[in-house]
């Protein structure tokens, strides 16, 4: 039985895990800032619109294909005008079943393209003679698409979704949305929570009681349930057929998550502040006549902040997961514009094309592991400091 010392002094920069976590976080923050500027596969333009996902727009190596696709699309709309309207609706494209590569014997079934996405329109097998060149072209397109759906190929390193979106590009573009949702909500939630929690702990009395009661009331509804209800209520369109624009949804998401985080982080701030309020140096500061403001800002907040940071990092990870869960539940973003919505949008194709879900899940997991690791290391160094005192 080893009785070695339990607490080693682990600080962020000394631990390998911490280094890896920090560099991963740095990478995704870099992606979040500059990602939408990168000309990856030319998908930037469509992704910035937020709603439309266009297949194969100007991919570097596949320029000819992209042109041929749009060419096909023209001939398509002339022969089958109804194909044009069937995919305009967001939900319709979202619900398209996975293409089964096995059941696509060349001439009978060919995928059809149009401006809004990729559908499984069946073509009549014997198009008249003048279309034989087109049929050949379609066959090549089909092969190309099937190849691009594979895990990786020369153009798309993570392959594409069945809608033809480059997964790698979608991930990089989704970073900004996912990270800004989690960072903003944790920032505002932490700010308001800290203000309320620390003030409550400092003043005690009726204010403390009321704040604590409100915190408890919000905490008594499970996080995901409350987030689900809040977003469903504030981001539901008036009529069931309408869609809510992404910008509104993101605002509502951040607002709801802030409401959820305030009591979670506020409670931590309150209990941390309670530990410091009766320390000797605070009493000394009060006895020499410092104002309440200066005691709060100079004595208490600097001591409470590290524990808030530790929990805040854990909250960052939790929020990224919650964002994904909400998309999967059908109330979050569904345009493929964030990591969670990328999963939600493609989860129907999971059985045939597992990579469309694996890759975003792994990216989310990596991010959550990193922020958890950082939060954990902050907490450990905090514990060490406390143990020394």
């Amino acid at each position: 039985m080893q009785l070695t010392q339990e607490r080693e002094t682990v600080v962020l920069k000394n631990s390998l895990g911490g280094k890896i976590a920090l560099s991963w976080l740095g990478t995704i923050i870099f992606c979040a800032i500059f990602g939408p500027l990168l000309p990856i596969a030319g998908i930037g333009q469509t992704f910035n619109d937020g709603v439309q996902l266009k297949p194969f727009t100007n991919c570097g190596f596949m320029g000819p294909l992209a042109q041929s696709v749009s060419g096909t699309s023209d001939s398509e709309t002339s022969t089958q005008p109804q194909a044009d309207t069937s995919v305009v609706d967001e939900s319709a494209t979202q619900d398209t079943a996975p293409i089964d590569t096995e059941s696509l014997p060349g001439s009978t079934v060919a995928p059809a393209f149009d401006d809004d996405g990729f559908t499984e329109e069946t073509l009549p097998p014997d198009l008249s003679g003048e279309n034989s060149v087109d049929a050949e072209q379609q066959e090549r397109d089909r092969q190309e698409l099937i190849r691009s759906l594979q895990m990786s190929n020369r153009c798309f390193i993570f392959g594409t979704t069945t809608e033809g979106t480059d997964i790698f590009a979608a991930l990089i573009h989704g970073t900004r949305t996912s990270l800004s949702i989690s960072f903003l909500s944790v920032f505002f939630g932490g700010l308001i929570g800290c203000l309320l929690g620390i003030t409550a702990a400092y003043t005690r009395g009726w204010f403390d009681r009321i704040v604590f009661l409100v915190f408890n009331i919000i905490l008594s509804i499970p996080t995901l349930v409350l987030a689900f209800a809040l977003i469903a209520i504030f981001a539901t369109p008036l009529r069931p057929d309408d869609t809510v624009p992404d910008s509104t949804k993101i605002r509502v998401l951040i607002g709801s998550l802030v409401i959820i985080l305030i009591p979670q982080l506020g409670r931590i701030a309150r209990s941390a502040a309670l530990q410091w309020i009766n320390r000797d140096f605070v009493i000394a500061s009060r006895s020499i006549g410092s104002s309440h403001i200066s005691i709060l800002f100079k004595r208490i907040i600097p001591n409470v902040l590290p524990s808030i940071f530790a929990v805040g990092f854990l909250a960052l990870g939790a929020i990224i997961v919650i964002e994904g869960s909400l998309s999967l539940l059908g109330v979050g973003l569904n345009s493929g514009n964030s990591w969670g919505s990328l999963i939600a949008r493609n989860s129907g194709d999971f059985i045939d094309y597992p990579h469309v879900v694996y890759i975003p899940v792994i990216v989310i997991a990596f991010t959550v592991i990193s922020v958890n690791k950082i939060g954990d290391l902050i907490r450990q160094s905090l514990d060490n400091r406390e143990a020394k005192i």
Partner: protein
């Protein structure tokens, strides 16, 4: 006498929080866009719409509408679905599925976490310990729905060991029930396993330094006996507290798992109700979930106070 007052204050606090939570939900639900009267009867005239709203209590202010809802709930009336039917039978059939999911998860998590925690404390600092803690840490950071989806597809659909999704009542087919529950329970248990193992490890390490462990060791008692007979019980209070308190959190986690694995529990019903804007049903479901959450937490809190005298008179 003092004990009785203590229990009463505790109960009154729970009741207050419960009322606050349900009031909050009732205000929120009223914010849902759209006119209920038009949903019920799209061709209603203005007078008919007013009559419908009056009947449902939608023309009242927040407070009196809440009191109306509360009196209904206390009489056992959980409201109606806008498109017909009562809410109570649905709740009655949904609760067992959710509770089963949570209880199985708890049992599985404890069964796995206790030996893991004790062993990794005993082998503290070795490769086994590091491997366990790192892999559990990473697994617990994996998004819950990701694990669920991957398990459902890989184990359920591709390998075909167990059915990927669905639910059968325990009374109907026992073995099929547990087969169907395996994947959701496994998914939901990953987080708790990591937490419990970590807590237990820390506690066991602290206990191993006690003098009586040294005495037991010097008497020549085997390591296994020391660990599981002498050390485990005094180290398990924190674990039990955490396990009991996480019951409430599991309700929230069960929501998404239920939807992924198509289990007709409260989560699925809630999602369905929100999708179809069943105002009263949403209110009742959230109230029920909050009640369970609070009851788990407060009962457990009191139980721990009764079991472990050290935690008495402690204010969270």
């Amino acid at each position: 006498m003092k004990k009785l007052i203590n229990i009463l204050t505790r109960l009154s606090r729970v009741a207050l929080i419960l009322m606050g939570a349900t009031f909050l939900v009732s205000i929120l639900v009223r914010q849902l866009p759209g006119d209920v009267a038009l949903l019920i009867n799209p061709v209603a005239s203005a007078a008919e719409r007013d009559a419908i709203r009056h009947e449902l209590g939608l023309d009242r202010n927040y407070f009196s509408a809440y009191l109306m809802w509360l009196s209904q709930i206390l009489r056992g009336d959980f409201g109606i679905f806008i498109f017909g039917g009562k809410v109570f039978p649905v709740i009655k059939s949904a609760i067992p599925a959710t509770l089963q999911l949570i209880f199985y998860t708890q049992i599985l998590a404890l069964v796995i976490a206790i030996p893991l925690g004790v062993l990794s404390a005993f082998k503290q600092g070795t490769r086994f310990d590091k491997l366990t803690s790192t892999s559990l840490f990473s697994l617990a950071s994996f998004p819950n729905f990701g694990i669920g989806l991957i398990l459902a597809v890989v184990v359920g659909a591709n390998l075909g060991i167990v059915p990927p999704s669905g639910y059968i009542r325990i009374t109907e087919d026992l073995s099929q029930h547990f087969k169907l529950m395996l994947l959701p329970v496994l998914t939901l248990a990953v987080g708790p396993i990591a937490t419990y193992t970590r807590l237990l490890r820390a506690e066991v390490i602290a206990t191993l330094r006690e003098d009586y462990v040294l005495l037991a060791k010097s008497k020549g008692i085997s390591d296994k006996r020391i660990l599981f007979r002498h050390v485990l019980r005094p180290s398990s209070t924190t674990l039990m507290t955490s396990a009991a308190l996480s019951m409430g959190n599991l309700i929230g986690g069960a929501l998404i798992i239920e939807i992924i694995f198509v289990i007709p529990g409260l989560g699925t019903q809630l999602a369905k109700a929100i999708g179809t804007r069943e105002f009263f049903a949403i209110q009742s479901y959230v109230a029920i979930i909050a009640v369970f959450f609070l009851i788990f937490n407060s009962v457990v809190d009191s139980l721990i106070n009764a079991v472990d005298p050290r935690t008495r008179n402690r204010r969270a």
